[in-house]
Symmetry: C2
Subunit: 321 residues, 2 copies
């Protein structure tokens, strides 16, 4: 009996390993496939580099097509997929929203990196846009990406439950002065001021979680989510977005620049309000795990379609391990 039980345990263990490995490989393949789709769509949603004024379009393409994980647009697609029936239609209808969210994100990176803001010279393993094209053109490239993001919403075949006016309001509020942009101001104002945990949360909810939340919501809306599904995916997005930023704060302390693709240790040096600075590395790791569990729990009632979202949340958490 003991031997049989032992053999069973070994088989079970191997089976789990197999699921884990095949799951990871298939997540990797899935993410690459989605990333390629997003890249192609991004490349075609802004004018070519030969369009006058050339410098501006070169700067826009340099920043937009310059790499990155494309986490936010992939989350838009994942949210739509998690709810949709007709996969091909659902994905193609969510693509403009996916690109819009990425354009907003890249605009915020270009503007954040400017000398008058975070003054960062390095982004996605390359010199920041303002180092290549100058401050003025970089700033205007950001403005142009921001404007184009809104225009992309007009390309969605909006379900009756979520007409274009609803999606437009959603995006305006998310980007606006009380959320994303407000978060950036609060971030700048908190520098070197021994921020409290409340302040750090205020900033992270706006600077990072808001765009992840928007990604989930827009994706869900394009796939005609029920109000309950939309609420659950919103909760998932908020918790995942916060977890993501806590992990990013941890990596800023523990990783080297080459691996991060941007200047490491910058937050500490700049006296930024971060989780490790307020509660320490170990508590930050526990907080990231707690937030990830919270995110996963939000998906409990949504069924099997959400397994990619689960995989992504789990994958993000182990980045700092």
């Amino acid at each position: 009996m003991l031997t049989r039980s032992f053999a069973f345990q070994i088989l079970l263990f191997l089976y789990k390993i197999e699921i884990m490995i095949s799951g990871r490989v298939s997540l990797f393949v899935y993410l690459e496939k989605r990333r390629a789709l997003v890249e192609k769509s991004l490349a075609s949603c802004i004018p070519s580099a030969a369009t006058r004024p050339e410098t501006l379009h070169q700067a826009m393409r340099y920043s937009l097509l310059g790499g990155g994980k494309r986490l936010r647009p992939i989350l838009v697609l994942c949210a739509a997929e998690a709810l949709g029936d007709d996969s091909e239609y659902v994905i193609s209808n969510a693509l403009p929203a996916a690109c819009a969210v990425e354009l907003l994100h890249i605009c915020s990176l270009i503007h954040d990196d400017l000398p008058s803001m975070d003054d960062d010279d390095f982004r996605h393993r390359k010199p920041a846009a303002h180092r290549v094209f100058g401050e003025a053109v970089a700033l205007l490239a950001g403005d142009a990406l921001l404007s184009r993001a809104f225009g992309l919403l007009a390309e969605i075949d909006c379900p009756k439950r979520y007409p274009l006016s609803v999606m437009l309001n959603e995006m305006t509020l998310s980007v606006g002065s009380r959320r994303l942009i407000g978060g950036q101001v609060a971030d700048l104002e908190a520098i070197a001021k021994n921020a409290s945990l409340d302040q750090v949360r205020f900033i992270h909810e706006r600077k990072t979680a808001e765009m992840v939340r928007l990604a989930l919501r827009l994706g869900a809306m394009t796939a005609n989510a029920t109000p309950v599904q939309l609420d659950k995916l919103t909760d998932f997005g908020t918790a995942l977005g916060l977890a993501y930023q806590v992990i990013d704060d941890i990596l800023d302390v523990t990783e080297r620049s080459e691996r991060l693709g941007k200047t490491a240790g910058k937050d500490v040096k700049a006296g930024k309000a971060t989780y490790p600075a307020v509660i320490g590395i170990d508590a930050s790791k526990r907080e990231a795990a707690r937030l990830t569990r919270k995110a996963l729990k939000s998906l409990d009632s949504l069924g099997e379609g959400t397994y990619r979202l689960r995989q992504i949340a789990e994958r993000l958490l182990i980045r700092h391990c």
Copy 2:
């Protein structure tokens, strides 16, 4: 006979003077009334200065509610009025579009005034936003106004002929990298380079005429313009916008800062591409008059409703006299 004819001539002259004076007074009253309506609407379309983060909202309100002629939003209302039947409904439905155009304009002013751009310390007779709130907050206030502008479109009760997607596309294209923002880049690139007349036109068509054109088009769309009416008002807007910029270029040379409310002689000093720099003051004045005539001619077939647009075009032309 001679005496009677002379008396008649005098009477006719006095009558013309009377029409001219009463016309002007009534235009002045009309513009003030519209300006007050726009100011009130602008004040309520962005968060209060007490909203967190306060500095950002103070900066947005400082720039947005800091004076100015409100020409663009008034043109939105005028275009709608020129075509509409039910005046009160037409005006209230055009108001969000009017505010949106003004928000875009103010964003472009804040960003243009930044040290890395035109580096201007003075706007609407007050220190520029970046002088009061710092570069970072000014830049982000511009971003927030730009985002809010798009959101305002969702408040329009769009006619079937011009659904929200059409208005959103219209605004995205107008602001985007090929038009307004492209014009600003071309403007910066032309500095101190002895620009040709073609280059000056390329810049002016984008930097100024585009927003005036957008004002006319959005106003006309909210009032359900026929395609022919929309075309005529577009032509009016383009010609008026160009005339306006030529006149602005002339005033930069001939006026003092106090009267302009911004730094005079700045264009010349900065080696900017302007009409007076390329064709001289007198030819510029003739060009402004030609463009104004062209604008007025576009209105010929549109009937009596366009008389405010005519008055505004005529009033703008005599600014430099």
